[in-house]
Amino acid sequence: MSADRSKFVFVLPGLIVLVAIILFPLLFTIRVSFSDWDVARPGLDWIGATNYLRLVHDTRFWESFGRLALMAVGSVLLQYMLGFGLALLVWREVRARRFFRVLFLIPMMTTPVIMAVIWRTMFHESLGPVNDLVRLLHFAPLPWLSQAGLAMMSIITVEVWQWTPFMFLMLLAGLLSLPREPFLAAAIDGAGPIRTFLRVTFPMMAPISIGAIIIRLIEASKILDSVYVITSGGPGTATETSSYYIFIRGLRDFQVGYAAALSFTYLVIMAISLTIIAKVLARAMLVRDRA
């Protein structure tokens, strides 16, 4: 077998399997989005762009994007800052650092939806330990899951708990692979820890930071599990993300056609905004690298 022929033997099996699994759902979603498929009339009729015209005026859908943006960007930024901080803390010169490294990785290994169930019991207004702590600090107990702002904070807290370890893992792997020379040079120049961080560590970590932030933003843009378990989108629609709203329309109300139109719009908006974010991040962080 020639090298030219055999290269396809490597790539094609995976490619074919993936396309076979993904292609039908994607094409089907696009086709269904032009139909009136619902509980009463399942079937692929053709109603043109009616579903898309309806979603333009669906304020609940557009509001869910705002909440998703707040939730995703807020939690990913927190994860990045905390993950970077933790990675720096156990990078070197710390007792029992391998113990703490393992400990800091653990939340990422646990099933989000199962830990969300546990967190829900922790945030329980009268029976949970979170309000016990609040009382200990001499404040009045807070309605963590039944007040809009607090419910959002609760979900972000759980997301931060769950996914900071991922940032920590990526950034610590990056830190451990950095060359030593620039740090020696900075030390010789008499740079303090803050200057060394701003001038040496941070610029060298820029590429891996961008990669880690983008991967997390992609995953966070799909938030559904934890919302479903912790608040079910409530109170009202205060924590309803785009995924969760589509889930309600498609798999609760069985408005399959309309949900497909929402899905496809959501997918396109996500692909575009994530691409823009990636470009902007790359420019912002790498320009500083050159300066």
Binding site: P13, L18, L26, L169, I208
Partner: protein, 281 residues
């Protein structure tokens, strides 16, 4: 380094450690409670604050009344996760090697575009795929089966395997391939005899990532299986209703997150040996 800086540093480490451990400790203590131990408000220390009972743990093996019969879901989760991870790893590794070593050209499509196509599947939100997958599996007669879920999970996990392995193979020197080729190895023999034995760190990390994301998925198991097949997360979330049995819920949660905690130890050992830098980039 000043003493104040040292104190702040360890204080920060301990504070975060407490935050990480808190839900596990809460679940552990709750798992030994009964309804009485819970409705009186939050308590933490057994014997002192509440009378511990093994009821929560016994319920793992019973059905009805807060019981969840955890054995079946556990086995289903293991079978689905391990099969899908293995298949994804094999297909993903082959594809990654091809994309890292050979040049592909078809019209405007280049290697980077094919790699991007694989990885970009992660952008697809599960909720977009749920209904089509449901109809597809229904058509194939695979709804509510382990085999159906395995197919879906391959699409979920293969992008992760490709992502980790392409980056990894790019760090393996091409001289290895070239000298094997000069010795008369075919491309496949080169891959099998020379490259694969040198790829353990990449394979381990890619495999672990597949296991993590497979074991921890909830949404597809939730929408595509009902009674014949039930994975752990679905079985546990089913307990999360208006009258949640906190005790068996906590015990079940601890039992189901336990196996992957071992993964943290393996990942850390690769991390500290510096092997992860090539595998994650």
């Amino acid at each position: 380094m000043s003493a104040l800086y040292r104190i702040l540093k360890y204080a920060a480490i301990l504070l975060w450690s407490a935050f990480v451990i808190a839900p596990f400790l809460w679940a552990l203590t709750t798992s030994f409670k009964t309804a009485n131990g819970i409705t009186g408000g939050p308590t933490y220390i057994p014997w002192l604050q509440y009378q511990p009972s093994l009821e929560g743990w016994r319920l793992l093996f019973r059905s009805g009344g807060g019981g969840i019969q955890i054995g079946g879901p556990y086995l289903d989760s293991l079978i689905v996760t391990i099969s899908a991870s293995l298949i994804s790893l094999v297909l993903g590794t082959l594809a990654a090697y091809g994309l890292s070593r050979f040049t592909f050209r078809a019209g405007f499509v280049r290697n980077a575009d094919i790699t991007f196509f694989f990885i970009s599947q992660r952008i697809m939100p599960p909720v977009v795929l749920a209904i089509p997958f449901f109809l597809m599996l229904q058509f194939l007669g695979l709804l509510d089966t382990k085999f159906g879920l395995i197919i879906v999970y391959i699409a979920l996990l293969m992008p992760i395997a490709v992502w980790v392995m392409v980056d990894f193979f790019n760090t393996v020197p091409r001289e290895l391939d070239e000298s094997a080729m000069l010795d008369g190895c075919s491309p496949f023999e080169t891959f099998w005899r020379v490259i694969l034995p040198n790829s353990k760190p990449g394979l381990v990390v890619a495999g672990l990532f597949c296991l993590i994301f497979g074991w921890n998925d909830f949404f597809f198991a939730f929408t595509l299986t009902f009674t014949q097949t039930q994975l752990l997360p679905v079985a546990i979330v089913a307990l999360n209703s208006s009258v949640t049995p906190w005790w068996s819920l906590s015990a079940a949660a601890l039992v189901s997150v336990a196996p992957l905690v071992a993964v943290a130890f393996v990942l850390e050992s690769y991390l500290s040996r510096g092997n992860l830098a090539g595998a994650i980039r």
